[in-house]
């Protein structure tokens, strides 16, 4: 049975009755310069079949030689994901025929993977009380294994004049190193799956072992989904969902699949074990092949490669290259800068952003003010300009310079915003702009008082109205004073002094 779009909504009563169980299999391309078993470049986007050699073309007689850098990156990822790295692991051949698989088998790892028994922490509603307190709980998601394998090439089925009856193959990608990261079936909702993938991606980006670019395919995700009555121990029959090539699709596909299986069970029907594809146009998962037609991959140890040995010494060496990871960084920033949990979360989204923020703070800016400016004005401006944090026209030091002018009351918040606008377009320092534009806050009481008196004198009608009780006109006088001072008068002072002058007039 298929679902209509409307059927995606599961009644709350069913949500209480059934529990989804989800595990994710994530493939990430490791960003080595050369391929996993030969010296060819891994560059994306080069003309088809130019990055190829006898090894990655699977020519007769060619043999694989393992790229040490790829192993180092995989070990680094494994350690960051709290895995136990096996001192010996083994490559295996996974046999199947496909035109973009030049050897007719993929060199992967099977019964002896590189690393096992890891976990990452996600946010979870599970720990959350009914009604929803502000602080969500956390939950550990187990990582069954991390293993290494080679990527296949790409089949291209359209875009050519003869695509009607021909397909083309580009083997540039063939042999790109992959790490496959398999989670335990610990995820209980599409939101948890989304959060898991977000955090996994964040960690891998921190490690700089992958571009994690879902559009270019350097991060790909399949999901195993089953549904069972709540309280039941054994798992329900699962479907494997492929083709989840964005975070949005992941969540949509999971929601669809959970609803589909829930309704099947509720009607007393059976879920069939099968592989399903997320169909973008139809916005639903569609059966690809059932269990009877599942591949028998006939794994066996790869005789062309020796067992992979990772010594304790090498592991330690790699361990020492691990950067501070997102969770640790977030916790440290909360305590070091007294940031709110949420702010720390936003600021640690990427290593570059966190680094930027910490530089601003290190340059003397007030940590909370700095957090507000980085998250608000800076990220807003970068997003509007379509730029990454690394491309910011305003350096952390320059931003700290601007914030210092706020802190010493040279600039009001509003003035600072216009200076910041200028900084974005000219990359000049705040001081330079303030000097050039003659912008500096007037805080001198006498100077302000003089202006106030002039304004009051010039507006006798409004003064009379104010005196007769229309006190809301204070806003009018503030406006006039600010206008006279070209906005440079300290607004707080203006308010204070105006009240004095109006009261005494």
């Amino acid at each position: 049975m298929e679902l209509t779009r409307d059927a995606l909504e599961i009644p709350e009563t069913l949500k209480g009755k059934y529990e989804p169980v989800i595990g994710l299999e994530v493939h990430v391309q490791l960003r080595t310069r050369s391929k996993i078993f030969c010296g060819c470049s891994t560059r994306f986007g080069d003309p088809p079949n130019t990055n190829s050699c006898p090894v990655c073309l699977g020519l007769p007689g060619a043999l694989p030689v393992l790229n040490r850098e790829a192993v180092a990156m995989a070990v680094k990822a494994a350690l960051a994901l709290n895995c136990r790295v096996n001192s010996f692991s083994r490559f295996a051949r996974k046999n199947y025929f496909y035109p973009d698989l030049p050897k007719g088998y993929q060199i992967s790892q099977f019964d002896q993977p590189l690393a096992e028994h890891g976990w990452i922490e996600i946010r979870s509603e599970e720990g959350q009380a009914e009604g929803g307190p502000q602080e969500k709980g956390t939950k550990r998601i187990g990582i069954t294994r991390l293993h290494m394998e080679e990527d296949a090439g790409k089949s291209i089925h359209d875009g050519f004049p003869d695509s009607q009856d021909k397909s083309y193959v580009d083997l540039n990608r063939s042999g790109t190193p992959l790490a496959e990261i398999v989670s335990e079936p610990d995820l209980r909702s599409s939101a948890e799956a989304y959060d898991y993938l977000t955090r996994l991606k964040q960690i891998l980006e921190y490690l700089d072992v992958s571009d994690c670019n879902m559009e270019e395919g350097s991060l790909r995700c399949d999901a195993n989904v089953s549904v069972r009555p709540r309280g039941q121990q054994e798992l329900g029959v699962k479907a494997e969902i492929k083709n989840l090539n964005s975070f949005r699709y992941l969540q949509k596909a999971l929601d669809y699949e959970i609803a589909r299986q829930t309704q099947l069970l509720e009607r007393g029907e059976k879920v069939v074990q099968e592989t399903r594809l997320w169909n973008l146009e139809q916005q639903k998962t569609v059966s690809m092949r059932s269990k009877e037609y599942a591949h028998d991959y006939r794994y066996f140890p790869e005789p062309d490669l020796l067992p992979l040995a990772v010594s304790d010494a090498w592991q330690k060496e790699i361990q020492q290259t691990l950067p501070e990871l997102p969770d640790a960084k977030r916790r440290r920033m909360v305590s070091q800068y007294k940031l709110r949990e949420y702010d720390a979360e936003v600021l640690t989204a990427s290593q570059a952003l966190a680094g930027y923020y910490e530089k601003v703070a290190a340059a003397g800016a007030d940590p909370k003010l700095a957090a507000n400016w980085v998250m608000g004005n800076l990220l807003g401006a970068l997003k509007a300009a379509g730029k990454q944090i690394g491309e910011s026209p305003v350096s952390p030091e320059a931003l700290a310079g601007l914030l210092a002018l706020i802190q010493d009351k040279t600039l009001s918040g509003k003035m600072a915003k216009s200076v910041f606008e200028e900084m974005l377009s000219t990359s000049e320092s705040a001081k330079t702009i303030v000097g050039r534009m003659g912008l500096s806050q007037i805080t001198d009481s006498d100077q302000i008082r003089d202006t106030i008196r002039n304004v009051i004198a010039a507006n006798p009608k409004q003064l009379a109205q104010y005196k007769s009780g229309k006190t809301s006109l204070i806003g009018f006088f503030v406006g006039q004073v600010m206008k006279e001072t070209k906005g440079q008068a300290n607004p707080q002072k203006v308010n204070e002094l105006l009240k004095e002058e109006l009261g005494g007039a």
């Binding site: 699977g58 020519l59 007769p60 060619a62 030049p102 050897k103 007719g104 193959v169 006939r298 794994y299």
Partner: protein, 493 residues
């Protein structure tokens, strides 16, 4: 008055070049002339690389003329089994599926041999993808035994052995997975060595069974085989399974006495199935070894009887994966007229592969299949360890092992093709050594009358018999010395 090199050894080539008696070009032409005369009879070579060979010979002559020191294989005409890739020269693997395949690179072993001055005169016929024991599985027709054209050359390196035996080339490269160098060497009366697994790079050797495949030299003397091995052995960064064990000078290690050398004679290799003619010759060979000062020790290799079954599980399992790449997509034969991808695969492989290759792919696919893996593949791996342990145990007591290379001399063409199992048994004495990864050499050990020909009215043909000597891992130097001394002493008449 043309030069005849049909009995030359490597040292004859070198001597004549150094003394300027002749040139590499003349030697090459003599080799090509011999090929033109003999190849139509015995079908040893699939491709003759005349132009390339002459160009390389001219380069050697320029070297000689300029007074440069000539490398150890300078001007030596060699044949290369057609499962070893050669850039720009088609490499067919004896298969229709690669009939017109021209590789863009050269195998490490060939590269090293050529760097040592060797001249490749042709690509040698072989059983399709090195699967066979008689060379009858070649898509290019069987190789005929130079000593009796009605008989097989042995296989799968039949072309390499017959090319050397018939004087087309001075030496050759073959490949040995379960006996494919040693058995044809024995059938054709030449010397053939399977080095230790990992001694010679497999880069560019088209894989049949990766954990068992070895490139090995074939020559007219043990010394020639030693010269060739010295040139091609050693670690290759392109083959992860090639060993970083130092390469001795195998030639200078040939001399020296064999006093106190202990030779194990495995009981299991002289049991049922060994023809009386071969038995007689090999027993005479053992006596000759005794006269050289070797001590004979009876040993037992108790798991020998499981070797054939074990081999045909492991080798075919690996083959089923290794041959998956011949799918008609990127290179090689593609069947016309297919309406779908799977039909293209089926037709291409159905038409492109011969019967024995298909049999082994099916067998290998089966033993790796879900539900059968443990019972077949995994069990065979365990048996393989036991067979290797048999040898390790034996080598605690002896320095080398002597046995027949094959149970019979060369059999008649067509004699065993109807019964694959009977064919498989012709490798019964070579398979255990392959599974253990130890080095083995077949050396001529006299002549035997052809089995079953006794009553024939025609003249009784004498066929070559080989004795097989097996050594410890990476102990090629002593193994070659033993073989060389045996040969120098006259072997067996």
């Amino acid at each position: 008055m043309s030069l005849d090199i049909s009995n030359w050894k490597i040292e004859d080539v070198l001597r004549s070049l150094r003394s300027r008696e002749t040139t590499a070009t003349e030697i090459c032409q003599a080799s090509l002339a011999r090929i033109a005369a003999e190849n139509p009879k015995n079908n040893s070579l699939i491709t003759v690389t005349q132009e390339r060979a002459l160009a390389r010979a001219a380069a050697i002559d320029r070297m000689a003329a300029s007074g440069e020191r000539l490398p150890p294989l300078a001007g030596v005409p060699v044949a290369v089994k057609d499962v070893i890739v050669t850039e720009g020269t088609r490499t067919t693997c004896g298969s229709r599926i690669l009939e017109n395949y021209v590789p863009p690179y050269t195998a490490t072993a060939v590269e090293r041999m050529e760097a040592a001055g060797a001249i490749v005169v042709g690509k040698a016929n072989c059983d399709e993808f090195a699967m066979g024991s008689s060379n009858e599985n070649s898509a290019f027709g069987p190789v005929r035994n130079p000593y009796d054209l009605e008989r097989v050359s042995g296989g799968s390196s039949g072309g390499s052995a017959a090319a050397v035996a018939s004087g087309m080339a001075v030496a050759a490269l073959g490949s040995d997975t379960g006996g494919s160098v040693r058995q044809p060497a024995s059938f054709c009366g030449v010397v053939g060595l399977m080095p230790t697994y990992g001694r010679v790079s497999r880069y560019g050797l088209v894989a049949y069974a990766s954990s068992l495949d070895h490139i090995g030299p074939v020559g007219r003397s043990v010394k020639d085989v030693a010269v060739l091995l010295s040139a091609i052995a050693g670690h290759d960064p392109l083959d992860s399974t090639s060993a970083a064990v130092p390469v001795p000078n195998y030639v200078s290690e040939l001399d020296g006495n064999l006093k106190g050398f202990k030779i194990g004679v495995p009981r299991e290799y002289f049991a049922e199935g060994l023809s009386s003619g071969v038995r007689t010759q090999v027993e005479a060979g053992l006596q000759a070894l005794g006269k050289l000062g070797c001590e004979m020790v009876e040993i037992t290799l108790p798991h020998t009887e499981y070797a054939t079954a074990c081999y045909y599980i492991i080798a075919t399992a690996e083959a089923s994966a290794n041959l998956a790449r011949y799918d008609g997509v990127r290179y090689g034969y593609r069947a016309p007229g297919a309406a779908s991808l799977s039909e293209m695969y089926q037709k291409t492989r159905g038409q492109g592969f011969g019967a024995e290759v298909k049999r082994r792919i099916i067998l290998g696919t089966y033993v790796l299949s879900a539900g059968y893996y443990d019972a077949y593949y995994l069990k065979a791996q365990k048996v393989r360890h036991l067979i290797a342990a048999d040898f390790s145990n034996a080598f605690e007591k002896v320095d080398a092992i002597a046995a027949p290379t094959a149970p019979t001399p060369a059999f008649r063409i067509g004699e065993k093709t109807a019964n694959p199992l009977e064919m498989y048994l012709s490798d019964v004495y070579t398979l255990p050594g392959s599974l253990a990864g130890i080095p083995g050499i077949s050396v001529p050990c006299g002549w035997s009358s052809a089995e079953g020909d006794g009553g024939s009215s025609s003249e009784i043909k004498k066929l070559p018999v080989g004795i097989q000597l097996l050594g410890k891992h990476f102990d090629e130097a002593r193994l070659l010395r033993l073989a060389h001394q045996f040969e120098m002493a006259g072997g067996v008449a």
